[in-house]
Amino acid sequence: MQRLQFIAQRVLKGVVVLLGIIVLNFVLVRLAPGDPATVMAGEAGAADELFLQQLRKEFGLDKPLHEQLVVYVKNVVTLDLGFSYRQQRPVSDLLMERAPATLLLTGAAFVLSLVVGVALGVFASMLVGRWSDSLITVFALFFYATPIFWVGLMGVLLFSVTLGWLPSFGMYTVGANLKGAALAFDVSRHLVLPALTLALFHMAVYARMTRASMLEMKDQDFVRTARAKGLPESRIVRVHILRNAVLPVITIAGVKAGYLIGGSIVVETVFAWPGIGRLAFEAVLQRDYNVLLGVFFLTSFMVIAFNLITDVVYSLIDPRIELGA
C-alpha cells in the first residue's frame, strides 16, 4: 500500500512537470522572433497565407493569450502536437514512427554504461594504486572529456573504415529484407557502434562514481562489523559494500537519463540512426519548429518516465527508503 502511495506521488509530480513543459513550449513559440503562426509552420515565408490562417484558427492565435494556452494544452494532451508543414505529416505520427529506434539505442546504452561502468568502478576500487586502477581512472578521465560525436566518428574510422568489422550507418542493411533472427542479428550489428558511443561518456561517469563510493563505504562501521564477524571478504564486498555503494550511482543514472537522450541527437546524427534524435537534427536543419518542440515534449516525457522507473527500482533496492515520506 505504502509503495503504491509512493508511486502515485511520483506519477503526480511527473504530470506536473509535463504540464510545465507544455507551458514552456507554448511560451517559447510566443517568445520566438516573428509571428507564432510562421514559427509553427516552419521556415518564415515558406508557408502560404491560407495555411497560416488555418494555423491561427486551429491554435486560436487571434484570441487572448490565456485562451490560446488552454487550446494549446488541450491539443497536446490529446496528443495533437501540430503538423509538420515540411514533412506534410502530423508531428505525433513522425515521433511515434521514430521512437522505437531511439528507445532501443538509449536503452542499450543505458544498460551498457551502467553495467560496465559499475563493474569497472568496483574493479578499480579493489585495486587502488595498482596499474589497472590507474588505467581505469585514465580511461574515465579521457572519455569524460571527449565530445561524443567525435568518439562516434573515430569509432567509424577505426571499426568500419579501417577494420571493416561493423557497419557505420543506419539500423538495417539496406535492401537485405531480413526476417526473424537474421534481422535481429543485423540490427544488433548496426547497434554496437552507436550504443557504445553513447554509453562511453556515462560509463566513465559511473566508473568514477562507483570507485569513489566503494572506497567511501569500505571505511564504514557496518563494514568493519562485518569483517569483525569474520565474514568472507567476497561476501563483504558483494553484500555490504557493493549494494550500498551502488545506490547513489543508480540515483545519478536516473537523473542522467536526460543526458543520454540528449546525446542521442548527436549520436543518431553521426550514425544516421533513424530515431527521434535524427528527426530533431533534420528539424533543426529545416527550422521545423513544430517537430523540434514535439521532440522536446516527447524526450521530456521519456526522462520523466525513466526517473519514475529508477525511483521505483531504488525503493526496491534500498530498505532504508521511507516510502511514506
Binding site: V17, L28, P33, P147, R211, A212, V255, G258, I265
Partner: protein, 281 residues
C-alpha cells in the same frame, strides 16, 4: 602571500592538475595570441581542398573548401573558451542568487525555488538547449544564454546547501541579532565562505559548457560568423572516410581543453577543500 603559497603547494601535489594547468595556459595563449599568427580569416580558401596533413605549408591539412585546418583550430579556441567562460559566469550568477535566496530564507521561498530548480533539472538539458538556440536563431548570445539556462540549477542546489549549513553558524547568527540587512548577511557574511565549492563547480562547468557548445555547433547551431571546433567536425562528418584529419584534429583540441579544465577543477578542489579526504578521487 602565505595563503597563495599554501594554495599552490596543495594544488601542485596533484600532478594531473599541474599538467591540466599547463595545457590550459597553452590553449588560453592560443586563444589570445593565435589569431595574430594566423591573421587571415579561417573561412578563407588558402590552398587546394583535401590537402593531407603534415605538409609544411598546412601542418594539419586543408578542409573540403581548401581552408587551413590549423587556422580554424586556432581561431576556434577563442570561440570555445569565450562561450565556455561567459556561459558559466552567467549560470553561476543566476545559480548563486537563487540558491542563496532559497538557502537563506528557507520555508516557502526555498520550496518554490527548489521546485523551479528541479523542473529545470528534469527536462533533458541538451534537447532544451537545441530548441532554444534553434528558435532564437544561432548567435553567440543565444548559445551563451541557452548553455547558461541549462547549467544554473546545479549551482543553485550547491549554493543552497552551503547556505543552509552556514546560516546556522554563530557569526551569521550574530549579524542577524545585530540587525544587519539580509543583503549584507547574504553577500558579505555568508557568500565569501561558500566561494571555494562554487569555484570548483564553476571550473568543471566551463568544461561541460565547451562540450555543449561543440555539440551545438556540430549540429549546425553555432554562430554562423565564427569558426568553431564543433562546426569543423560537423562540416567534415560526411567525408570521414576519405579525410580523417578534418575531424580528428578539432576533436583533439576539444578533448585536450576539456580534459585540462577537468584536471584543473580537481586540483582546485584539492587546494580549496583540503579537509576533504583525497582518497576516492
Amino acid at each position: 602571500m602565505h595563503g597563495a603559497r599554501d594554495f599552490w603547494k596543495r594544488f601542485s601535489r596533484n600532478k594531473g592538475a599541474v599538467v591540466g594547468l599547463a595545457i590550459l595556459v597553452l590553449v588560453l595563449a592560443t586563444a589570445i595570441f593565435g589569431p595574430l599568427l594566423f591573421p587571415t580569416s579561417p573561412w578563407e580558401m588558402t590552398g587546394a581542398p583535401f590537402q593531407r596533413p603534415f605538409d609544411p605549408e598546412f601542418p594539419l591539412g586543408t578542409d573540403t573548401l581548401g581552408r587551413d585546418v590549423l587556422s580554424g583550430i586556432v581561431h576556434g579556441a577563442r570561440v570555445s573558451l569565450l562561450i565556455g567562460f561567459v556561459a558559466t559566469l552567467v549560470a553561476v550568477i543566476v545559480g548563486v542568487i537563487l540558491g542563496a535566496l532559497a538557502g537563506y530564507y528557507g520555508g516557502i521561498i526555498d520550496d518554490l525555488l527548489m521546485r523551479f530548480t528541479e523542473f529545470f533539472q528534469t527536462i533533458p538539458s541538451f534537447v532544451f538547449a537545441v530548441v532554444l538556440v534553434a528558435i532564437f536563431t544561432p548567435s553567440i548570445a543565444s548559445i551563451v544564454a541557452a548553455i547558461a539556462i541549462v547549467s544554473w540549477p546545479a549551482v543553485a542546489r550547491l549554493v543552497r546547501g552551503e547556505f543552509l549549513t552556514l546560516r546556522t553558524r554563530e557569526f551569521v547568527q550574530a549579524s542577524v541579532v545585530l540587525g544587519q540587512p539580509a543583503r549584507h548577511i547574504i553577500f558579505v557574511e555568508i557568500l565569501p565562505n561558500a566561494v571555494s565549492p562554487i569555484i570548483v563547480a564553476g571550473s568543471l562547468m566551463v568544461a561541460t559548457a565547451i562540450l555543449t557548445e561543440s555539440s551545438l555547433s556540430f549540429l549546425g547551431l553555432g554562430d554562423p560568423n565564427l569558426m568553431s571546433w564543433g562546426f569543423m567536425i560537423g562540416a567534415a562528418r560526411t567525408v570521414i572516410r576519405t579525410a580523417w584529419w578534418m575531424s580528428f584534429f578539432p576533436g583533439l583540441a576539444i578533448l585536450l581543453t576539456v580534459l585540462a579544465l577537468n584536471l584543473v577543477g580537481e586540483g582546485l578542489n584539492d587546494a580549496l577543500n583540503p579537509r576533504l579526504s583525497r582518497e576516492g578521487r
